[in-house]
Amino acid sequence: MPEPRARVMDRLSAILIWGVAGLVAASFVWLVGNVLQHGLAQLSFEFVTASPEDAGRGGGIAPIIVSTLIIVAICMAVTVPVGLGTAILLAEFLSGSSRLGRLVRRSLDVLASVPSVVFGLFGNAVFCQMLGMGFSLLSGGLTLACMVLPFFIRTAEEGLRAVPKDYRMAAASLGLSHTGTLAHILIPAAMPGLLAGFILSVSRSLAETAALIFTSGYVDRMPSSLLESGRTLSVHIYDLSMNVSGGDGMAYSSALVLMVMLIVLNRIAMWLSRKWSTQRVVA
């Protein structure tokens, strides 16, 4: 039988900890519920197919969705080859303790924690000004690529490392070249991990605002070339809620569209990584 004081403490701490968990869960429900409640009001088929009118107070978000997709596509087109190359280098060619491996890993850590607004400054100085791309989808996509690169590399590297050693040995004993092993065995076997990294990077770039305001700009027309300015969904939400009076409803609807996209991507990534870890157990 514990002394009463200890029992009281135990009871109190349990109440406190359940209380904290309840508070966090309630904030989450409040946030999501609030976005759903105000966002559903204007949501319709026209909303995703029409152009914005009156600075976004009316109409839809079609050009914004197109700009978003183009920027994310540019970002991933750069991230995937560069990131995959780095991940293969880290996982297959460099041992964990080599000096080069440590240097690359350290720079990835730093890169992952640089504030996004600093990426924005960098993108503005390099892509918009020095390389003369101006405020454009291309500048925005390239800036985002620098930003999501460390996240893609990390996940891809883990995926490659999780491929069992036996596969490599078997390939070597069959006389397969290093490139052949990579292309036919390691990359296919690590595919769920690579896909999870891909989806994680897409979600990151969809969610980003600060790095884009002064690289891809504010224009809300349908873009006709990569060198034109265009705003993504998250920039649209920011602009409507801060700079356009009466834009709140549309901001909420855009936020709802963005969140649905992100939650779907998050679920797919979770499902993939679960599949990947069960695969590892079987193998």
């Binding site: 609030n34 730093v110 600060a210 936020a255």
Partner: protein, 268 residues
């Protein structure tokens, strides 16, 4: 190929420094903190109020969020039944995935009007702290959760054999053995809080002043860059790059601290 990431880190440092050069050449760094005001068009570059804004809002958010995050991880590991813990982890993951601009929107439409009922104008240090605390919560929960999971199960079996109560087990075994992990979590949270732009920009009111109370509006370094970059020219633009450089240095110091904590852990 692998050196691309290293190159990007160096390029960022070089370019941000290069673009801030026009200011640093003509104005001594001391003036960044002693000038009469932030008025770049008239040659006054006092960044102290914005630096204070960043520090106050980040410190408040971490002080509020770190205990809540640790409590959440304790909840998942020691209190909740497995199914509840799984659901709770899913909520934390979704919180981590919500874009900062959506946090900002919710803060602006819900939290700010609510605060304004007690103490106008509502857009304030406190609003920033509350929103930011919720935003950086998942970082702590995930790090603490992983740290608790790494504690050898023998410790808990020993505690159970001694008949320790649940709270005593958590207080005397789980928290002390996870100390370094929890510290790393708090440092990572600080890094995120310092670098966060959108949510803070939307709820803090953006008045350049050293806040005297939690209800005062304030402008952070990040918000200042986002607000003024669109029209800044010449030396003004250089001043914004200088504040970016300042942010970069702060982040590097935080990473170095986290590294130090981790190194001691691997030696111990």
């Amino acid at each position: 190929m692998g050196l691309v990431s290293t190159a990007i880190v160096l390029l960022i440092a070089v370019f941000v420094a290069r673009e801030s050069f026009p200011l640093l050449r003509s104005v001594s760094p001391v003036r960044l903190f002693t000038d009469s005001a932030w008025n770049p068009l008239e040659g006054a570059y006092n960044m102290a109020p914005m630096l204070m804004g960043t520090l106050v809002v980040s410190a408040g958010a971490v002080l509020l969020s770190a205990p809540l995050g640790i409590a959440s991880a304790i909840f998942c590991n020691f209190y909740a039944p497995p199914s509840v813990a799984r659901g709770y982890r899913a909520v934390i993951e979704l919180l981590a995935g919500i874009p900062s601009v959506v946090y900002g929107l919710w803060g602006l439409m819900v939290v700010v009007p609510w605060l304004a009922r007690f103490e106008p104008p509502g857009v304030s240090v406190l609003a920033g702290i509350l929103i930011l605390a919720l935003m950086i919560l998942p970082t702590m929960v995930m790090v603490a959760d992983a740290t608790f999971a790494r504690i050898p199960s023998e410790y808990f079996q020993g505690a159970a054999a001694l008949g320790l109560s649940r709270w005593t087990t958590v207080r005397t075994i789980a928290i002390p053995s996870a100390r370094r992990g929890l510290l790393t979590g708090a440092l990572l949270q600080t890094g995120r809080a310092v670098g966060e732009t959108m949510a803070v920009l939307m709820v803090c009111g953006n008045v350049v002043q050293i806040p005297k109370s939690l209800a005062d509006p304030v402008r952070t370094l990040t918000a200042n860059i986002a607000l003024e970059m669109a029209y800044a020219m010449g030396v003004h633009r250089a001043a914004l790059f200088t504040s970016g450089l300042l942010l970069l240095v702060m982040i590097l110091v935080i990473i170095a601290c986290a590294e130090l904590v981790n190194r001691e852990r691997s030696n111990a």
